[in-house]
Amino acid sequence: MRVITIALALAATGSAATAGHRACHEASSVVGYEECSRFGVGWSGRSLSWELGGAIVQLPFDAIDRALATSPNTHAVAPSRTGRAHVVRLRSVYGLTEHFYVASELGLGALTVMPAIVLDPVARDEMSSASDERGWLISGMLAAGLRTVTGPIRFGGELAFGPRLAVFSTERAPDVLFGQSAVALEARVHASVWLSPRWSAGVMLGTSVLERADTSITVGLGLHAFPYDGGR
């Protein structure tokens, strides 16, 4: 592990000049004579990690009452309710300083609880059935937060925002796609534990700043480009 670490470090420091300054030709590796790099570059600073996790997301659905485009005499009706989705979340986390970071996040998952759609009048007597409904939740978020370390545990908080789209359909109206989009603004707290210098496991809890019923819990693994993201 140590050999790999040192090899990566040498590769990183050796390529810093060409990676960061493509047009710059390094004249010397001696302090004061360097033209592209500077003393201490690559010794510390930014960190990068990726987190893959499974999340359970609760989100509010607005009531539905609309005519179907494929059959204007038929209304789709559903009361508002709190839905749920099982989502896979992939995060890229960029540590800009020891404590401050920004992150980008993609989420894709299946809705497991969604509005119980009743078709009226064609299917007035027909009970809605969750088993004939399918739906997906897609989200993209940007986040910024602070974190700190206590022993093997790292914890912090962040604010995330971004668009979120829920789409679902019922087999009783297969040509119709129902959807709800919103901009999510979520406050989150998270904690993680180091499994090794480059792997961590963590949990994150989130709640919408705008809607109390909008919550999420994520459990995931993190892969870190730099051991302990620089230090713990």
């Binding site: 470090a9 004579y33 201490g40 302990y228």
Partner: protein, 117 residues
């Protein structure tokens, strides 16, 4: 050599277009936490064949040599040239006791032979 979390190697180096003696430093952090390291305060002397010593001064026209952080389980390298060397320099001695800022200073001299051109 090792000092606490710090692994440090010192070597004499020859660089084209640099007439002053150059010392190459390789640092490694063996610990899980960051280290504060300081190559600016290293005391350096040059010796000639007769044993005379001259104090050498780092060439740092841009003021880059400042205490800096070395990430956990990470390494860094630097080459520093020194001015004020005596004619017929045969060796360079550096006091690396101040490199690890997390450790108490203790004088620690390391000498490296200078290749004669």
């Amino acid at each position: 050599m090792t000092s606490g979390c710090l692994d440090l190697a010192v070597a004499s180096s020859e660089e084209a277009d640099v007439n002053d003696p150059v010392v190459a430093y390789s640092l490694g952090n063996r610990c899980d936490h960051r280290l504060e390291v300081d190559l600016a305060t290293i005391r350096v002397v040059g010796r000639d064949a007769s044993g005379h010593e001259n104090k050498l001064v780092a060439f740092d026209p841009r003021g880059e040599l400042q205490p800096t952080t070395l990430n956990a389980l990470w390494s860094g390298r630097a080459k520093i040239s020194y001015r004020g060397a005596p004619v017929g320099l045969t060796s360079i001695c550096v006091d690396v006791g101040s490199v690890d800022r997390d450790a108490a200073y203790a004088e620690r001299w390391v000498c490296v032979a200078k290749e004669l051109r």
